[in-house]
């Protein structure tokens, strides 16, 4: 039935749920339950990670076809099925999700002390939903996962968050839900038009230009909020600031990728004409996002808020790359999504390290940390530089490819994206300087301990990955090369056909 010989994707998707079930069944004293919950969650996520590595080894890079496909009829009379599969676009995001989850659980080991069981359950459910979303090949299935992700995230922010957690959680929920409802309408329209919600089938369906226009707008409303694109980005800084560290990591690492993934999976292949028509708008919004949010990041006084704004700027690069419709731009966008997932996740972990010790996110509260925490300073430096897109680290190949791709479409857009290079360096180094460099003024900072073994274990895989992605990016780019090439070819063919029809 597929390359693995057994339903690998379903297994990877629902294994975390099994872990969650086990955790829920544990009874006993508070401390015992908490310890059991932690270990069970860690093991469940590690086994999921190990299983998902089969995707890495078993994936055939030479084809753009969907792989590891599973198809079961569900509501045949409505053309809705349980259809799972991955291609070059989605496979690495599943791996990103399965990698970040155990790290998040490790990061929450000590910092989460209340309702540990529920917290771990929420995280495992979240993981399952994320993986399912990337693996879904049916629109209805996708929508279910897409929306279901919101619930655990809403709870994580709203229950284990900071002081204004309820406001932030509600804002997060309402913003994303408002967009998603329009997507639901669009899905209904698609189903009404094509009679099926099977994505591979839909890719062969041509929609009329008028239809494409409205569908695109509806999808856009949903995905733009998720990305988030300017000017619907303000939920993100609030959500990040209030979320617990691990929540921020997942939010930045995986959830932000859902919007861009949606563009790649639906807008581009299903609505080529509308995508091409709307590209200038996206370029404008992306360039504004890059410059505007980078500037806003420069003025921030809260570490997490600063990194949150920097994420929006990076996502601007991603949306820009996607709508260049060039192989370079698309690959660059995908690569930036992956690298941003690793790097910004790691940056939030870095903030978490300090937050766990001092319980403050205020930048002015720190200074001179390098003196007492040299290893931490080095780790933070690596990720800061990766975020600045220093060549040799993860951030660079993606940005380079996007700029090269954008340059072909419109050099001025490329120049706008390049502005992010300057401003990005400014805010990142400014943050680093204020937190890590300088003289220690505050007495209580002098007693801080450097990284613990658990923290080393959390950072080590991320550092390795950051360097690996920076030095040898082809090992990742090869995964989506065939898919991207097919996407570009199909896009050009569709546009060509439309042009012919217009004549």
């Amino acid at each position: 039935m597929n390359t693995a010989g057994f339903p690998l994707l379903s297994l990877v998707t629902f294994l975390p749920l099994a872990g969650a079930l086990i955790i829920m069944m544990v009874r006993g004293e508070e401390a015992v339950v908490a310890r059991n919950a932690r270990w069970t969650a860690l093991w469940a996520s590690l086994i999921t990670l190990a299983l998902s590595l089969l995707l890495w080894t078993g994936f055939d890079q030479s084809t753009a076809e969907f792989q590891f496909v599973e198809q079961v009829d569900w509501l045949p009379e409505y053309g809705v099925g349980y259809h799972m599969g991955v291609d070059g676009i989605s496979v690495l995001f599943i791996l990103l999700s399965t990698l970040l989850t155990p790290l998040c659980i490790l990061a929450s080991w000590e910092s989460v002390q209340t309702r540990v069981r529920e917290y771990m359950v929420a995280f495992l459910v979240l993981e399952a939903m994320m993986i399912g979303m990337f693996a879904a090949l049916d629109f209805v299935l996708f929508y279910i996962f897409f929306e279901a992700v919101l619930i655990p995230m809403f709870l994580i922010i709203g229950i284990w968050g900071g002081a204004r957690r309820v406001y932030a959680a509600l804002k997060f929920f309402l913003y994303t839900l408002a967009g998603s409802l329009l997507m639901l309408l669009a899905i209904l329209a698609v189903w009404y038009e094509a009679g099926t919600t099977d994505i591979p089938t839909l890719m062969e369906t041509a929609f009329s230009p008028r239809m494409q226009f409205w569908l695109f707008l509806a999808f856009f409303a949903s995905f733009a909020v998720k990305v988030p694109m300017w000017p619907v980005h303000t939920w993100l800084p609030d959500a990040h600031v209030e979320a617990p560290t691990a929540g921020s990591v997942i939010l930045a690492g995986v959830l932000l990728k859902m919007g861009a993934y949606g563009f790649l999976r639906f807008s581009l292949p299903l609505l080529p004409q509308a995508s091409a028509d709307f590209a200038p708008l996206i370029f404008a919004l992306s360039v504004i996002a890059v410059i505007y949010t980078s500037l806003v990041a420069l003025a921030q006084e809260d570490m997490k808020k600063l990194i949150a704004y920097s994420s929006i700027a990076h996502m601007g690069i991603v949306t820009l790359g996607i709508f260049t419709f060039t192989a370079q731009g698309l690959s660059g966008a995908l690569f930036t999504m992956l690298s941003h997932g690793v790097v910004s996740g790691a940056l939030f972990l870095c903030v978490g390290v300090l937050y766990d010790r001092v319980h403050s996110r205020e930048i002015a509260r720190y200074g001179g940390v390098a003196k007492i925490m040299p290893a931490y300073a080095l780790v933070f430096m690596v990720f800061t530089m990766a975020s600045v897109a220093l060549p040799g680290l993860a951030g660079f190949p993606g940005e380079l490819l996007v700029i090269v791709g954008a340059f072909k479409v419109n050099p001025w857009v490329a120049l706008g994206a390049c502005m992010g290079m300057i401003l990005g360096a400014a805010y990142a180094l400014y943050l680093y300087r204020r937190v890590i460099f300088g003289k220690i003024v505050r007495e209580d900072l002098k007693t801080l301990l450097d990284l613990s073994p658990r923290e080393y274990a959390t950072f080590a895989p991320l550092i390795l990955l950051t360097i690996w992605m920076g030095v040898y990016p082809s090992s990742f780019l090869n995964f989506f090369e065939a898919t991207v090439a097919a996407l570009v070819a199909r896009h050009e063919a569709a546009l060509g056909a439309a042009r012919l029809a217009g004549m």
Partner: protein, 638 residues
């Protein structure tokens, strides 16, 4: 051997950086020195093989990116151009590692320093042996990172942190243009590999970009990138501030190697530049302007390192206008000799600073030449070479640069020649101003410091001696290879000059006063410095009082920092606040939050409407009626 020359420094950096805490300061620092020396041996051997034996080659490593025809590989390109740089960088870096052993001996985190220094060397070597523009950019940014880390090495000093950040960000401005130039190169040549680019020159010649010749745009974009790294006027502001770093860093990064990367890039791209005449003119003018501009500032600065920094800036201007008139060989020659004597000057200055208990202001020095005679001699040798006094290294290279500018027979060339000559005069002047104020006259330091003045340890003096040998001999010894009779054989196609470009040939046949002129102005500059600071020490103050405007203008470095602060830094910060507080909080967030409160308000209002009072019902009815009637009346005529 070829791989070793590049990767040994990285190995050293890793050992010192990661294991330094466990193996201790001494083993860590000597490990880096050892691997650096090993790299220097490999580098010299490569120089003999490739440059003297003319056996260029490429060592491929592995694929970096391959997307839709955008193919980039890691590879080490060994031709004469790169091997000259490799030999020079590894040699000078080894000396500076050795020097640092003495200079940094009282530092708290020695392994960190040596790790950075070796990391820098590795990045620089990657830059010069790059086989394509992306790898070059890797080294380019890598040296920027190392420079950032080393300028801010003493991170407890606020000024050092600020200077480090400034260096990185100003360089990034240049890098943006580099990046755009890279993108345009790819879309023009369908490749960023040098081999393919150079082979595709003919085919791509007619291409235009936004209505302009593509070659010109590529040239200007890459040149703007080079301006950032090589501190040309406009993007030079970071270099003087970079002197916040330890002195060996200034010698290695901000004098001998990194700042010349821009010149190297221009020479590397010579096949493209040869077909971009307008770009060459721009380069000539910018280079010449930088040469004179930095020299004027150098005349009035009081920080010993900053004077030398401005001198570096000025000398880089020379190299650029040599490129601009098409004499890439002369630019490389000056780059090569300059590395030796400028590193010597910086290390000499470091030895002075070391002796003076970390004093850097030349107004608080003086009268120490008898106490540190060897350093004094070294500073003389360096200055003589810098001023272009005959038979020292700078004499050969600077003369050559000025001759080619003259021989270009173009307006820009003449401008460069005039400015270069004037700058040569000022160079000699400020060099001797520095020597006289630092070493001669009555001691102006306090008693305590003067008691401590001592000659530096051997680890610092050996590099000084080796570099001074270079400052004396490299000019004479390498003249024929770089720019003389053997140059075609020596460069072996690594530098491309078109058939019409005979500037190097013409330079050998300029009128006899032209080669003489730099020496004459140099000697008169020295003489003037003696008059003003030795024999009539009141003169400079009088002059400053007589021309207060000029003096202040120069002292404040032409007000570049103030200008940039006013037009870039402060508006950006202001805009940042406006976007955040007004854009995000009030407008974007205001709408949903406003909608929410509106909903609450409307609900409240609706409650209030049904108050049961007849008067308010009647009032509402009247208003409704009025509206209704007026609508009908307005709608009537249609």
């Amino acid at each position: 051997m070829y791989v070793g020359a590049i990767f040994f420094p990285l190995l050293g950096a890793c050992i010192a950086g990661f294991l330094g805490r466990w193996i201790g300061d001494k083993p860590a620092q000597w490990a880096t020195v050892f691997f650096m020396a090993l790299a220097a041996v490999c580098g010299s051997a490569a120089f003999i093989d490739v440059a003297l034996g003319s056996a260029p080659g490429v060592v491929p490593l592995f694929t970096f990116i391959d997307v839709g025809g955008f193919e980039v590989s890691w590879a080490l390109r060994y031709d004469t151009l790169s091997v000259v740089m490799v030999a020079m960088v590894t040699f000078i870096s080894t000396l500076i590692h050795l020097y640092s052993v003495g200079y940094m001996s009282h530092d708290a985190t020695i392994p960190r320093f040596f790790a950075y220094l070796s990391l820098f060397t590795f990045m620089m070597l990657m830059l010069v042996t790059a086989d394509n523009l992306v790898q070059l950019f890797f080294g380019w940014e890598g040296v920027g990172l190392a420079s950032y880390l080393l300028i801010g090495y003493w991170y407890e000093k606020e000024s050092a942190n600020r200077a480090a950040m400034k260096a990185f960000i100003v360089n990034r401005v240049g890098d943006v243009f580099f990046m755009l130039g890279l993108a345009l190169t790819f879309w023009t040549f369908q490749s960023v590999e040098f081999e393919t680019i150079f082979a595709g020159i003919e085919a791509a010649q007619g291409q235009t970009f936004l209505g302009l010749p593509a070659f010109e745009v590529i040239g200007v974009l890459l040149f703007l990138g080079a301006c950032g790294k090589s501190a040309q006027i406009g993007l030079h502001t970071w270099l003087p501030d970079a002197m916040e770093g330890p002195t060996p860093v200034s010698a290695l990064i901000h004098a001998a190697t990194m700042v010349t990367a821009g010149v190297f890039l221009m020479v590397r791209m010579s096949p493209v530049l040869e077909y971009a005449p307008t770009t060459l003119t721009v380069i000539t003018i910018v280079g010449a302007t930088t040469a004179i501009f930095a020299a004027t500032i150098g005349c009035v600065q009081n920080d010993i390192k900053r004077i030398i920094a401005y001198s570096t800036c000025s000398q880089l201007g020379y190299m650029f206008f040599a490129v601009g008139v098409g004499a890439y060989q002369a630019a490389m020659f000056h780059l090569f000799t300059h590395a030796f004597f400028k590193a010597l000057l910086f290390l000499g200055a470091g030895s002075v600073i070391h002796a003076m208990s970390d004093e850097q202001d030349i107004r608080r020095m003086g009268g120490i030449w008898k106490k540190i005679p060897l350093t004094y001699v070294m500073m003389w040798v360096g200055s003589l070479a810098l001023a272009g006094v005959p038979y020292f290294a700078g004499y050969y290279s600077k003369d050559m640069v000025l001759e080619v500018a003259y021989a270009a027979h173009s307006g820009a060339g003449m401008y460069a020649f005039a400015m270069g000559l004037l700058a040569a005069f000022l160079t000699a002047f400020y060099s001797w101003r520095l020597i006289i104020l630092t070493f001669h006259g009555a001691p102006r330091a306090d008693h305590h410091t003067m008691e401590h003045v001592h000659e530096s340890p051997w680890t610092m003096m050996v590099p000084l001696l080796a570099l001074s040998a270079g400052a004396v001999m490299t000019g004479y010894y390498f003249y024929d290879m770089f720019v003389g009779h053997h140059q075609t054989y020596f460069w072996n196609g690594a530098i491309f000059t078109s058939a019409t470009n005979q500037v190097l040939e013409h330079a050998h046949h300029v009128p006899s006063w032209v080669p003489l002129a730099p020496t004459v102005v140099g000697l008169s500059g020295i003489a003037l410095a003696y008059v003003m600071y030795m024999f009539a020490p009141k003169l400079p103050a009088m002059l400053a009082n007589a021309l207060p405007g000029v003096h202040r203008f120069l002292l404040n470095k032409w007000y570049f920092d103030e200008l940039y602060d006013a037009i870039f830094v402060r508006p950006a910060m202001h805009l940042a606040r406006v976007f955040w507080k007004t854009g995000d909080t009030r407008i974007i967030d205001g709408m949903p939050n406003g909608a929410a409160s509106l909903a609450v308000g409307v609900a409240g209002g609706a409650v209030r409407l049904q108050s049961g009072r007849v008067a308010s019902y009647a009032f509402t009815m009247i208003i409704g009626l009025v509206l209704f009637v007026s609508l009908i009346l307005v709608g009537m005529p249609r």
